[in-house]
Amino acid sequence: MDFAVFFQLFLPGLTTGCVYALVALGFVLTANVSGVVNFAQGEFVMLGGVVAAALVAGGMPMLPAIVIATVVGAVVAAAQERLTLAPVRDTPHFIRITITLGVAVVLRGIALILFGKDPLFLPGFTGEGTISLFGAVLPIQSLWVWAATAALLAATFWFLKFTDVGRAVRACSINLRAARLMGIDAERLTLLVFSLAGAAGALAGVVITPIVLATWDAGVSYGLKGFIGAILGGMRNPVIAVLGGLGIGVVESLAAGYVSSGYKDAIVYGVLIAYLLVRGGVFLFGRAALVGSTGE
């Protein structure tokens, strides 16, 4: 096996996987506190990308553009929660899920109207050059993606583990109803977590844009892959969700490189179904099969 080739496939896959991982994390955390799977999660990535690219193209320096794009992500996510989810807290979950799908459509449409259909360009934070790593050639921006992802993940897990609010979020993930009964203010917590997930998604969108450009319709694909990562974590476990997101990026790239670029998606999805079935213990029978069930 040629290691240079392996890393040329593995590392860019990891870079894409970073975005999937942050989206997956957003899915899991918002689902834990609100009980709803927010399918607009991928759109925050898109928003971060197009807002930052449009601002920089308009002449704004990089740093304020990044900050504004991130804030836009947080504000839009908070508005989504307040306007479309808070009023229907008690309706069945698939209705609220469909509402989030509707919100995603609206966000995409508004982005198309405001930013146009052409891909938007954002220069790399530290230039357009490349670096060589384990024999693989990568854009320098990859380092920024990895660093931003690592920082966001570290901050999130620190938040979950060592702050009172974070502990409250974890309590919600163990038992939402009990946590509410215990006096955790789920309303405020939900708003907070939505804003954070929106900000994290938007920031992911900003850092990846110099590599992949920003387009109004990019959120669908990020949302789907992130959702799959979150499902791997049973919509509950943030660590597995993050690993799942990274894994999807890597498997995608390796499958295209080593097997076939045409059948890449079929391979990723086939592997995924097989994994769920095996982990779910479906090949066991009778009583044993039900014990290993995943998710809710």
Partner: protein, 608 residues
């Protein structure tokens, strides 16, 4: 079916069918009829989707994958092999149902959003296969698909095809309505309300979820076939992910509580899109569509069908208020147990049952047996492991070690519904009634395993189905009469007083015609009069030849009723035997009873 329900059904049919029939007569142009065809095909596809999401509570994000299967099977068979389009449609339906069945069995065992994802993955795999397959025409797809025809009778103009499409859509609706009012419809509602209680009356949750997945796949495939014959072409993008989301939005806007909701949603969403197209605001189209979805769902969470149903209730009145309930029980309403176990044997034999939760040994090496025809009580202080032991016997939790034999056969590896099928009924400490159905339907769920109509019989509503329904109704009314709830048939259980709700559970378990009835703290929450009536009811149940095993706190009740007693403490059995002997057991008195219940219990029985 009540008159009110019949009126509602007739109104729904008329309100939908009349516009559908009249529409092409008023708007006869190629375009408006075309829109009607698209709406009709989508309506056919949504009926099954409502059954899957609204009834079986399974979200699927890749449903358009089955439209793709139908579309491609038709495009290929009718274009390249000149197969009759209607035959090709049926072939696509069969293939889609087979795929759903193969995927459904393993997937439905998993919980959460796994089906949502698996169906999505399935659709993406179909798309890749279609793109990569030269035979299917690759990314360009298959063109030149012939017009629709049925056994050579072709639909020369679009209006004729329009009626053919809607005839198929209404057939799907009819199948959906037949399922809704059948034992399968009740089973699905039962699963949705309480999977545990559904298991207790012998309903196999996985089986019916898979069945609905299979039905929905078949209907979606038919819709895809019709679409391919309308478009006269099929390519991998026609039924892409966007179409899956369209279907989902359609059924949810239409309303998941009724099979009409799917057809309504499909019509509204198709019409709305064309209407927006006329506004010539291409960029704003999706924004308006998305915003409308959000607003409609926030305003009417039950969808348009739900809103219309609420309107009907406002105009016609809600109906179904509890009549005068005849509390006088009718002991002759139920027949004694047929095929009783031999009186000298052992009915239930538990050996070495153990179950630990982490380091807590909830049940440790418990052995006891229950004699046929007896009333056996399982007692012990809170946390002694009684309910856990019940759950082990009923199959709700797996045993770590030990065996459970019922009528000599091991049942410890069986699932709750399989155990129920063998003749073990149960009631729950925390009531587990199906509040999405009437009391009568709740009890009819108990008859589930006595009915044999399968999905095919029910879809076609063969004569056997109404006959069986009538039998089940009769039996359910008898069970209600037996427990003393005549007159409460048509209300939701939650409007009844608590004591009566307990009786509904007992009636539901009795409708199962069990040999052994497990009752988990039947007296909790009851007042004295109700407890007395319960004691009397248990004796009458026993008189039918049904063996009763109960967990109970109320010592007066236990001492007065039970032939034998099993005492548990901290997960272990500390005594068992005939009531008199256990009552005198010093260990029992010390560990649990703490005082001599003798006097009190006798007083109560004397008073009863």
């Amino acid at each position: 079916m009540t008159d009110r329900a019949r009126l509602k059904r007739t109104l729904a049919l008329a309100a939908f069918a009349i516009p559908v029939i009249v529409y092409p007569l008023i708007y006869s142009g190629s375009y408006p009829v075309g829109v009607g065809i698209i709406a009709g095909a989508m309506a056919a596809g949504t009926v099954g989707f409502v059954l899957l999401i609204g009834y079986a509570h399974q979200l699927a994000f890749g449903q358009a994958g089955f439209l793709m299967v139908g579309g491609y099977v038709n495009a290929i068979l009718s274009t390249h092999y000149h197969v009759d389009p209607f035959v090709a449609l049926l072939a696509g339906v069969v293939l889609s149902m087979a795929i759903a069945w193969v995927i459904g069995w393993p997937i439905m065992k998993l919980r959460g959003f796994v089906l949502a994802m698996a169906s999505l993955a399935m659709q993406f795999i179909f798309i890749v296969l279609a793109i990569e397959s030269e035979f299917a025409g690759g990314a360009l797809g298959t063109q030149g698909v012939p017009k629709f025809s049925v056994f050579g009778i072709s639909f020369a103009n679009d209006t004729a095809f329009y009626y053919a499409v809607w005839a198929i859509a209404f057939t799907c609706v009819a199948i959906g309505l037949n399922v809704d009012r059948s034992r399968i419809g009740r089973a699905l509602k039962a699963i949705a309300a309480s999977e545990m209680a559904a298991g207790s009356v012998g309903i196999d949750a996985i089986k019916y979820k898979v069945q609905m997945f299979v039905v929905s796949a078949g209907m979606a495939s038919a819709a895809g076939s019709l679409g391919a014959h309308y478009l006269r072409a099929m390519d991998p993008n026609v039924y892409g992910f966007a179409y899956s989301l369209n279907l989902l939005t359609g059924v949810i806007i239409g309303g998941l509580t009724s099979v009409w909701g799917g057809a309504l949603g499909a019509t509204v969403i198709t019409g709305l899109r064309e209407l927006l197209r006329s506004l010539a605001l291409p960029l704003w189209e999706s924004v308006i569509m998305g915003a409308l979805t959000v607003i409609v769902l926030i305003a009417f969470p039950t969808g348009l069908a739900g809103a219309l149903s609420a309107l009907f209730d406002r105009v016609v009145g809600r109906g179904g208020r509890a009549g005068t309930i005849s509390v006088a029980p009718d002991s002759t309403a139920l027949a004694p147990v047929q095929n009783p176990p031999p009186a000298d044997g052992v009915l239930l034999d538990v050996r070495g049952a153990s179950r630990a939760f982490g380091s807590l040994r909830a049940v440790a090496d418990v052995s006891f047996s229950v004699a046929p025809g007896s009333i056996t009580a399982l007692i012990g202080p809170n946390g002694a492991g009684k309910t856990t032991l019940f759950n082990l016997i009923g199959g709700y939790q797996p045993l770590d070690a030990g065996t459970v034999r019922f009528r000599g056969e091991p049942i410890e590896t069986l699932l709750p519904d399989e155990i129920a099928l063998r003749g073990i009924g149960r009631t729950f400490q925390n009531l587990q009634l199906f509040d999405n159905m009437t009391v009568l339907e709740n009890v009819m769920c108990g008859r589930h395993r006595r009915m044999s109509a399968g999905l095919l019989d029910i879809s076609a509503r063969l004569p056997k189905v109404p006959r069986e329904e009538a039998d089940a109704q009769r039996a359910a009314r008898a069970a209600l009469a037996f427990v003393g709830l005549r007159g409460a048939e048509d209300v939701r259980p939650s409007v009844l007083p608590f004591g009566h709700q307990r009786l509904v559970e007992v009636a539901r378990a009795l409708a199962l015609q069990p040999t052994l009835l497990l009752m988990d703290e039947p007296a909790s929450g009851l007042n004295d009069t109700e407890t007395e009536r319960l004691a009397e009811l248990i004796l009458r149940i026993c008189a039918l030849g049904i063996t009763v095993l109960l967990v109970e706190h109320d010592m007066r009740l236990v001492m007065g009723l039970a032939d034998s007693i099993v005492v548990m403490h901290h997960g272990v059995k500390i005594a068992d035997g005939p009531t008199d002997r256990v009552r005198a057991d010093p260990q029992v008195i010390a560990a649990y009873l703490g005082h001599d219940p003798h006097t009190e219990a006798h007083e109560r029985v004397a008073g009863a």
